[in-house]
Symmetry: C2
Subunit: 364 residues, 2 copies
């Protein structure tokens, strides 16, 4: 059985590493010649919408999936016509456009921050008195890792913010005075079975995830599962989906969702009975889903911009290194390290050491 | 960093899967065109002693290792002259010849069964009155998975046994009335650090390993570590080594050792903090070794000759499937499944289900 993946970055790489033990082989389509998953299968090198490469992908792969959500709509349509593609096109359409996404949340009675559509500087100026400052201007499409987002502190920021997003169709969102950021990851199989991972508590900086920590038995787990269930059912979803949430005064409000395996779930490789990567594959192949139970304490620390020395990481007790085979570049995720330990004190010690190490090499 | 591996079977495959997260790439030398690790790196396809391929391996790889011990001596010599090769040639020389191996154990005061050298049918007849029946005739070289071994029940068996081993240089060993078979696996790094895994308790049938179960806190752990330490030091060993032992009346006696990752350690992928495959790589790269502590209960069941249905295996709680990407053939190891669970009852239930499944598909 061969799985086709659009994208051959670290997410595709970790999917493939989880897939070989299931007897799977892989074929990737990615425009980057040195895409880091390309050691793990055939690499179709070229544009995502190249009709020849897409035809090859359809020909070679039994099922196609994505490692990122910004796949052009016509590509998804082509693939869906010719082969099995998961997650479904609908999930990509919603996730690709913040305006559509926010409205989708609202239709499902999933609370969000207050927001307004912004098509012009006038729209922005009109919306602000209702939303209040601070607020965040976000381009409707193509945003990830904090890109295409500008904080608005006062009316004086509006014009420059509108220039920064280059007048792109946007939304403006009221700032949410959250006590913490969490995410919940689920896998839903072709035949509709669903499993939920324990919540991750996430620390971002500069719009990029830095640390994600498994929160088994979190008091907000049930509410998060409830919202995520609505989303999965409404999308008739297949695969792994991550929903990012803010906690505000004991309530969760939705930020965004990613129709794919997610950085805040990397700790599941060592910290859960079955990793998000394996469960994504099980889901799209309609195999029984694996247990998502946490094994002890687990957290993941991202390494951004700079690579750690392997020997320094591996000298830390309970540390599990994941290098992506990417060359370092400012702001680029090049590795993560998971700390997993049954003993809480040992876990805390190791996590602190790792966070220091990550800060040292981080240039972003 | 690129690792060269002689052999591209399932052991090489699992080494590579453990190596990608450490940022490693792989190149394999294997005569089989469809060797199952070949999706995970460059495959030099040809004979192990092909001078052109060996030169290519030396050129491409930073360090070379083996997935099996029957590498021709001249190959090891060539590699050792031109690059870093671990485990050391001495370990292969000893492990390749049962006569040398048994004597080596004896020199280190590691107890073994009584044995005698057999170069002719007369030698065999001469040795038997001292050893007694039953006994086992084993060819000195090329034996694995019970091949080249014949049980002698009485004097009447001697002639036919000698014919079965085709008059090959052999040893004859007294039968050991063991209560159980165990193995211990250690990793020793270039700079001499050593870690020991908890004992595995092993069930063989027809000379092939069927089930290996992690025995954390086994009363025989200390004695096993003592014997293995002598072996590691005497060989100035680097990498993972497995020592197979019999327990007889509360004492361990050595059967044989394998200078490589070992089937009885496959449960370490899910059942130990760090797998034997990762620790083998850490050892040969002189990186800090990872914790070998067991995580809950764990056992591994081999699938031999026939493939299980993935969905049947994955429907069993706590089961982790490892398909090797090999086509089934009588007596061939094509997959293993690890059961890992913190809860002992759930662990036992799953293990029983798996053993039944393995028996159903087993044609050997």
């Amino acid at each position: 059985m061969k799985i086709g993946i659009l994208g051959a970055g670290q997410l595709a790489r970790m999917i493939a590493l989880a897939g070989f033990p299931l007897g799977l082989d892989f074929i990737f389509l990615d425009p980057s010649v040195d895409a880091c998953a390309n050691r793990l299968g055939e690499h179709l090198h070229g544009d995502y919408s190249d009709p020849v490469l897409l035809a090859q992908l359809v020909e070679c792969a039994d099922v196609v999936t994505y490692e990122f959500e910004n796949v052009p709509a016509q590509v998804v349509d082509y693939l869906a016509e010719h082969t099995k593609v998961y997650p479904p096109a609908k999930a990509l359409e919603v996730a690709q456009d913040r305006w559509v996404e926010k409205n989708f949340f609202q239709e499902l009675d999933i609370p969000t921050a207050k927001f307004a559509l912004v098509s012009s500087l006038e729209d922005l100026a009109f919306a602000m008195p209702t939303l209040g400052y601070p607020a965040i201007l976000k381009s409707r499409t193509q945003g990830y890792d904090g890109k295409g987002q500008v904080v608005l502190k006062s009316e004086a920021d509006l014009k420059s913010a509108w220039e920064i997003v280059q007048g792109a169709p946007s939304i403006v969102e009221a700032f949410v005075p959250f006590s913490r950021e969490v995410s919940i990851i689920a896998a839903r199989s072709v035949s509709g079975s669903v499993v939920f991972y324990p919540l991750s508590e996430n620390q971002h900086q500069g719009g990029i995830l830095r640390v994600a920590e498994c929160r088994a038995n979190d008091p907000m787990q049930a509410q998060a599962e409830d919202y995520l269930t609505r989303l999965l059912n409404a999308l008739d979803y297949v695969g792994v989906l991550a929903l990012e949430l803010f906690e505000v005064e004991g309530q969760l409000i939705a930020n965004e969702f990613a129709p794919r395996v997610h950085n805040s779930g990397h700790w599941t490789i060592e910290g859960a009975e079955t990793s998000q990567f394996e469960n994504h594959l099980r889901a799209i192949l309609d195999l029984p889903l694996g247990s998502t139970a946490a094994i002890g304490n687990a957290a993941m620390v991202n390494f951004i911009g700079g690579l750690p020395e392997a020997k320094e990481v591996l000298a830390i007790a309970n540390a599990h290194l994941h290098l992506y085979g990417k060359s370092p570049r400012k702001g680029r995720k090049v590795a993560h390290v998971t700390v997993r330990a049954s003993n809480s004190e040992s876990y805390r010690n190791s996590l602190e050491k790792l966070e220091r190490l990550a800060t040292q090499v981080d240039d972003s």
